[in-house]
């Protein structure tokens, strides 16, 4: 093993959180910063060639090569875990920018009550209404504390949207249920494709409060506070699973790399597969990685940030023996606990008489209602919420050909073909994404059988829905069908029901937990500055810190928390390198 010259800071993972931290440290300090990224380099101009549905959306060219490493999955401790052999329920990206390159860009803030999840529910409905093995938590920070960092994250990306609550004043047309914002969105809402307008009008006619999705697919040309200029979205319809060829969708490569490229104290090393964090005497000494030639390298560093996505952050701690693994039988241990996904379903497939011209769109061009994030749970059989919405990604034919209304039973042959052709551009989805509560039985540990390409154990997910999630989906499906009718649908296919957790159906790359944030070292891994409780020169960035999934998509919150952590490191930790609390 080769040992390299020490650097001040190593950041593992070159996605949104890792490169945001790199940008803050590189521009505000003189530290020498090294980012280790497992995948390859990327540039905006590469993405012209990516407008190919087969290679990018079907063969998934931007994702981590699953032949090298995957995760194993089982529903409960009684079951046998097997590897997820082909991508399904989530799509971790690889290469510079990580999943932040192929994301859709829907960029919610969490609600104030999300940060007080346990207290909020217990105060309103009582502890006994929570499911038995539920482990939802309050965060050790409040919405108000994080608000300025949400603002910075939105300005960084140029998020398009309409405020619904400006310093306490409710504004119709925005999300009136959101927490108070200090300022309006940096850019105006995106244009509204036909399906989105139908949803807006249908939801409005039922008394709901539709608002344009907050979008990182920025609506107009925008220059952010770092001086990085990006074009406005052209609605080409190649967003999610693709990179943006004009740089309109905020991605680390078009938002953070332009700043970092000018920094002489910054280095990005691609093709570096980090296998271990080396901790000795209560401090990180560096990381061990494989270089592209297959040589093992030790890279010493004074300060290490793990920013390698939820599952891999957790896996690196477990592989490195840092912290006590969570044991669901005793409830003891911290690493791997509170694994959550997001309850994401196509609640109603709606069929229309008239065409939608659905090929025009963007990853976050759409409309949502927040009425069921803010709902009253007194008279329902679940205790979580979420948003009904529609998004016009841009209908591409391999993924979207073949939908037929319930009145057509054929799945191949002339009858199916005729109906599928007719409905190809007359089909839309009313979608639901909802909160996934944390449960004591949903967790991660190292798989005892299956290995990655270097022989390291895969991470094992033990994960299943509970009645709470199924009941919530049933309720929301009925609301989605009502909205579909109000949109003027001629036929509607309701979602058949949640059933058990499926590793096969895409549900969003929004996996949380494993190295959760908390107020106490006995039941969490990081403190409110994302600093490891036991190893003060180790920080863990990203959604692995979230104690549960609060319905919305996690990226904006992950970046806001990174800003907050960066301030604490720069203003306090560097002067006195120890525990921040």
């Amino acid at each position: 093993m080769k040992t390299l010259r020490p650097v001040d800071v190593v950041i593992v993972g070159g996605g949104w959180t890792g490169l945001t931290m790199a940008k803050e440290l590189a521009t505000r300090t003189a530290l020498k910063i090294l980012v280790l990224e497992r995948g390859g380099p990327r540039k905006t101009r590469d993405y012209f060639d990516s407008m190919d549905e087969l290679d990018y959306a079907v063969r998934l060219r931007m994702m981590q090569p699953i032949r090298d490493e995957t995760v194993t999955f089982r529903h409960s401790m009684r079951d046998r875990a097997l590897p997820i052999r082909q991508y399904g329920s989530f799509l971790p990206g690889t290469g510079v920018g990580g999943s932040g390159e192929h994301w859709s860009g829907i960029s919610y803030r969490y609600y104030p009550h999300d940060f007080r999840r346990l207290s909020h529910f217990v105060e309103k409905y009582g502890r006994e209404r929570l499911p038995e093995d539920c482990d939802v938590r309050d965060w050790p920070i409040t919405y108000d504390e994080l608000e300025p960092d949400y603002d910075r994250a939105e300005r960084l990306m140029g998020i398009s949207g309409k405020a619904g609550n400006l310093r306490g004043s409710k504004i119709e047309g925005g999300n009136i249920f959101e927490g108070p914002r200090g300022s309006e969105y940096p850019t105006p809402p995106m244009k509204m494709p036909h399906l989105a307008a139908l949803f807006r009008d249908g939801a409005h006619s039922l008394g709901y409060h539709p608002f344009p999705l907050p979008a990182a697919t920025t609506s107009v040309a925008y220059t952010n506070p770092d001086g990085v200029a990006r074009a406005g979205c052209s609605y080409c319809g190649y967003c999610e699973r693709f990179g943006c060829m004009i740089g309109a969708k905020a991605q680390p490569t078009n938002t953070l790399i332009p700043v970092l490229a000018h920094q002489t104290n910054f280095e990005l090393r691609t093709g570096a597969w980090v296998r271990r964090v080396i901790v000795e005497g209560g401090r990180v000494r560096g990381v061990r990685y494989m270089d592209p030639q297959g040589e093992e390298i030790f890279q010493p560093a004074d300060l290490v940030f793990l920013a390698s996505w939820t599952l891999n952050n957790t896996r690196l701690l477990l592989l490195s023996g840092v912290g006590e693994p969570y044991d669901p039988k005793t409830g003891k241990g911290v690493v791997g606990r509170n694994l959550t996904h997001q309850v994401s379903v196509p609640a109603a497939t709606v069929f229309f008489e008239k065409p939608l011209n659905g090929f025009m769109g963007a990853g976050s061009a759409g409309v949502a209602i927040g009425d069921f994030d803010a709902m009253d749970h007194s008279h329902v059989n679940f205790c979580s919420g979420g948003a009904l919405y529609t998004v016009c990604y841009g209908t591409r034919p391999i993924a979207n050909f073949g939908f037929v209304p319930p009145s057509v039973t054929a799945r191949w042959g002339p009858e199916w073909k005729k109906a599928a052709l007719h409905y190809y551009d007359r089909t839309g989805l009313v979608r639901f994404y909802g909160e996934h509560l944390a449960y004591r039985g949903n967790y991660m540990d190292l798989d005892p059988v299956y290995k990655d390409r270097y022989g390291d154990p895969l991470i094992r997910m033990t994960l299943d829905w509970r009645d709470n999630e199924g009941n919530m989906v049933q309720f929301m499906t009925a609301r989605a069908v009502e909205i579909g009718r109000a949109m003027g649908a001629v036929e509607i296919r309701p979602f058949p029901g949640l059933g058990r957790y499926e590793a096969t159906r895409y549900q969003g790359t929004h996996v949380q937990g494993g190295t959760i944030i908390g107020a106490n070292h006995t039941d969490s891994v990081v403190n409110r500055y994302l600093q490891h409780w036991r190893v003060p020169n180790l920080f863990l960035l990203g959604a692995a810190a979230f104690p549960q999934n609060p319905s919305g998509n996690p990226t904006l919150t992950a970046v806001a928390l990174t800003y907050r952590a960066a301030d604490a490191v720069i203003q306090r930790y560097l002067k006195n390198p120890g525990e921040l609390i």
Binding site: D49, R59, R67, C233, Y235, P397, K418, D425
Partner: protein, 225 residues
């Protein structure tokens, strides 16, 4: 890349180039003249034997038939698409985690089999035999029996892929699939149109990625190991 030079698929050019090309509102339109002139074309096969290619083409054509609602798998060249995919990285399971041990799981854990797409096709082709020589009614009956097999589900998926992929992958010949559904293909954008045309048909003329970029792009089946 190793390619079989022994096997060729001989196709009538009138069906390859798309005998019936439909207008964007899918009313039958003009007939391609150049196809008729070309006569028969011999396409080198990379994975299938000629017999196998004929059987798969016939099955794909029952899934996505050529009929009064428009052209189908034959005109799009679906079998050529499938042949290239099976010959390349996808066919060898490059996009799957293939380390053992292999064990049966529950459906929510996804496909756990050891067989690669190539092996699944080959095994089923043995059973299909000279499928292309059966009558349409007999073909439908055979496919009906296989409806719930992994092979059929792959074939149905691959037929849709071959109908609607960018033509660089060997299917969607003459952009016939995109014309069928009114998909314009990759475009730089629709800023002026995205919030217009509500409820009315808007159909820009389709173009392939190579046509849009003005240069060829190499598909994964030509570049992946």
């Amino acid at each position: 890349m190793r390619r079989s030079r022994r096997h060729f698929l001989t196709v009538s050019a009138t069906t390859l180039g798309g005998a019936l090309v439909y207008t964007f509102d899918r009313k039958p339109g003009r007939v391609h003249a150049q196809g008729a002139q070309a006569g028969a074309v011999k396409i080198p096969l990379r994975f299938f034997t000629e017999e196998e290619a004929l059987a798969i083409a016939a099955a794909a054509a029952r899934i996505f038939p050529s009929d009064e609602s428009g052209p189908g798998a034959n005109e799009a060249g679906v079998v050529i698409y499938i042949d290239r995919q099976l010959a390349a990285a996808y066919g060898r399971d490059h996009y799957r985690y293939t380390q053992g041990p292999f064990a049966d799981g529950v459906s929510e854990q996804g496909y756990q089999g050891k067989e690669t797409p190539r092996e699944i096709y080959r095994a089923c082709l043995k059973k299909l035999g000279r499928f292309h020589l059966l009558s349409a009614v007999e073909q439908d009956a055979r496919l009906k029996q296989m409806e719930n097999t992994l092979f059929f589900s792959l074939l149905r998926t691959h037929t849709i892929e071959g109908m609607f992929c960018d033509p660089m992958h060997g299917g969607n010949a003459d952009l016939i699939g995109w014309q069928l559904v009114g998909f314009p293909g990759p475009r730089m954008g629709y800023f002026d149109d995205v919030d217009q045309h509500y409820g009315t048909t808007f159909r820009p003329k389709p173009a392939s990625l190579a046509q849009i970029l003005g240069r060829p792009v190499l598909p994964s089946e030509e570049t992946e190991p």
